[in-house]
Symmetry: none
Subunit: 205 residues, 4 copies
DNA sequence: CGTTAACCGAGACGGTACGTCCTGTCTTCGA
DNA sequence: TCGAAGACAGGACGTACCGTCTCGGTTAACG
């Protein structure tokens, strides 16, 4: 019965970390720099070297923790936008969706939009990035949106035979594609889109 | 030393070109190589050097004619897809749209889809590319689509107050975004999307 | 005895010239431009393209007549400096040499000096240039100088056993080397050099 | 993030270098390749790319350490010729100079001569190269030569009023200029030159 | 006085090398 | 073990010239 060498006073079961622990200041600085660079000047100047320079961190430190630029961009994006977009929750599912779409549109018009573009662009030459983006961003948002739609169906606000993923696509894809194509995403347009798509979703025809 | 005397009144409209004429064999070889490289391995290996190597043309010749990789990609794309996607023309606008969406989906599943992704990605760091893509591809397609929708309205097949650009977005954006996100675009899904969106567009509610 | 086929009535031995004759305006413009470019900014910007641009002549015209940049530089140099340096002719050979050295020094301090440097530099990667320079410039000058030295010997001003080429080298090489090394070549220094070298050449020890 | 704390009072004079140290194998390989290329085929094929290829080193590594081709050539030259030319030291200054001149002539006839030409040629379009060459090669040699001349004066072998730099020029410039003009530098000629110039330098006229 | 051969301007083309920027890996030191 | 610093191999960039080539238009001497 060899007693496990434990750092005295440490909470047992905790994985023993040898050597110098990871600096969280570094991590923050890097993600922050990545976010800023992307939102300021897009992909063109989004470079590991640039991030290192702006954050004052060594290049190798970045490589140690993020396998690709895409991963870095995504983590910076998520860190910054986490829970900025909260789904509302009123009695009308349709109203909730509209509010939510306007929130998304607002976000996309800002720095986060440029980053989202960068991530998708980067993903075109790196499937991992797309996958990570799906896991970290798309899927959660879709789940939340699906919940509202399902509520609307339960409400009898929406048709019972609604194909939820398809409606989601019809509602949100135009926003993102316009962003990618550098076309404006103003609120009246969003309102119009929501009305157009949701008209076919309402129950009681 | 000798001033090139402009012969006025010569074959009107026909520009007189001095110097050795541009080699169309070169142009073809380059565009072809660009198309192939993009559709085979995406943006990652789409490189001016690579295009030069594959086409057997000097790098400087490429730079002479295309200012950016984006311009090259677009021209290769247009050259290859020109009039591959023709809008059908039957009595039912709705049916026409569905057929057309299936055609687009088919194209996007092939090499042209990867190129389209490449162009959009490239465009994220070069607005010119996006602009050229809009002029050369988006706008013409949108015009054709709008014609069908307008016909549907005239037919009384669709509601009279339809906002055409919005419907276009709702119909086609999901296709393109799924492509960019590497999600499958199979025919049933397309069918479903068309039905979902068009349901709200039909006249006679 | 086969009669040579001759253009009847032409001065025998004259080559028959068909077609448009060479434009001497072109030739002048090119040589002038070459000279100017070289004397203004040295070898660095001495470029066939540059000469063509400055002279307003097509690049191919230059290539037609001059095989290398070196040949062009030399011809420009000779055209411009031809008989600018005349050997004086007084009673004292020593005095003549000193005057002459000062003239050479003066020329080397000006634009022609920079060109001479350019020619020698160019010659390091093209033996033809060196050869042409020797034929067109060095040899004639050496002949003139040798004449003076020979006169000095005949005069009994100089020792009878003088090795003329060696004395020439000792007198003129330092001037050229200083030029190449960007060291100043002022008149007192030249005077000093002449005295130092010629002291050992005088007769009557 | 962590500031590099200067450890004061550490091994004085010894600079503390952060990061991976420079590879001396690289440096050697590069200089060797540069020397070889220059001595084999002169300036014509002396190219950063060529040096990189022959030395098996990345082009960027060369650019990191040498600002210009000239600097590279000079360092290669100095590395190879360092202390190959030692000034002799006997009782007769005149004899010492003659021996020394023959040594220089011998060196100039070999690969080092071609390199010297390359350096001077390169220097014609880059003053820095000339300057570096003066500092690294000319000045030290001149100092050594001046010492002998001064000794000869102290000896009463040479005239007391000798202008040392001028004599140096008269002795050594012809050697270098002949090299640049691709004229042979054989020992009898050198002997002759030395005699001719030094005759006017001897004391006791 | 029309031929006609060489000239000239213009510019495309295949190339070579440049010098820069960034990538991803590595090596060393200090914390 | 982490992080800073920075060397290194390597790949692509976009530029500048090179030397060759193909055109069309010009022009002086010949027939």
């Amino acid at each position: 019965m060899t007693a496990a060498m434990m750092t005295p006073g440490k909470t047992a079961g905790q994985v023993r970390l040898a050597g110098r622990p990871r600096s969280s200041a570094c991590r923050q600085a890097i993600l922050r720099a990545a976010y800023e660079l992307l939102s300021e000047s897009g992909l063109r100047n989004f470079t590991i070297e640039g991030v290192a320079a702006r954050s004052g961190v060594a290049r190798s430190t970045i490589y140690r923790w993020w396998p690709t630029k895409g991963a870095l961009a995504i983590e910076g994006f998520l860190e910054a936008t986490a829970s900025h977009i909260t789904f509302p929750h009123t009695s009308s599912a349709k109203a909730d969706l509209k509010v939510q779409m306007r929130l998304v549109a607002k976000m996309l018009r800002g720095g986060a939009g440029r980053i989202l573009c960068g991530i998708i662009a980067e993903g075109q030459s790196d499937p991992e990035t797309i996958a990570a983006f799906a896991v970290g961003y798309l899927t959660p948002r879709r789940r939340e949106c699906a919940a509202i739609l399902r509520r609307g169906i339960d409400n009898r606000e929406f048709r019972a035979d609604l194909d939820i993923p398809t409606v989601q696509s019809a509602l949100y894809s135009p926003l993102h594609l316009r962003l990618l194509l550098r076309e404006p995403i103003d609120d009246p347009w969003v309102e119009n889109l929501a009305e157009t798509v949701l008209r076919g979703c309402l129950a009681g025809d």
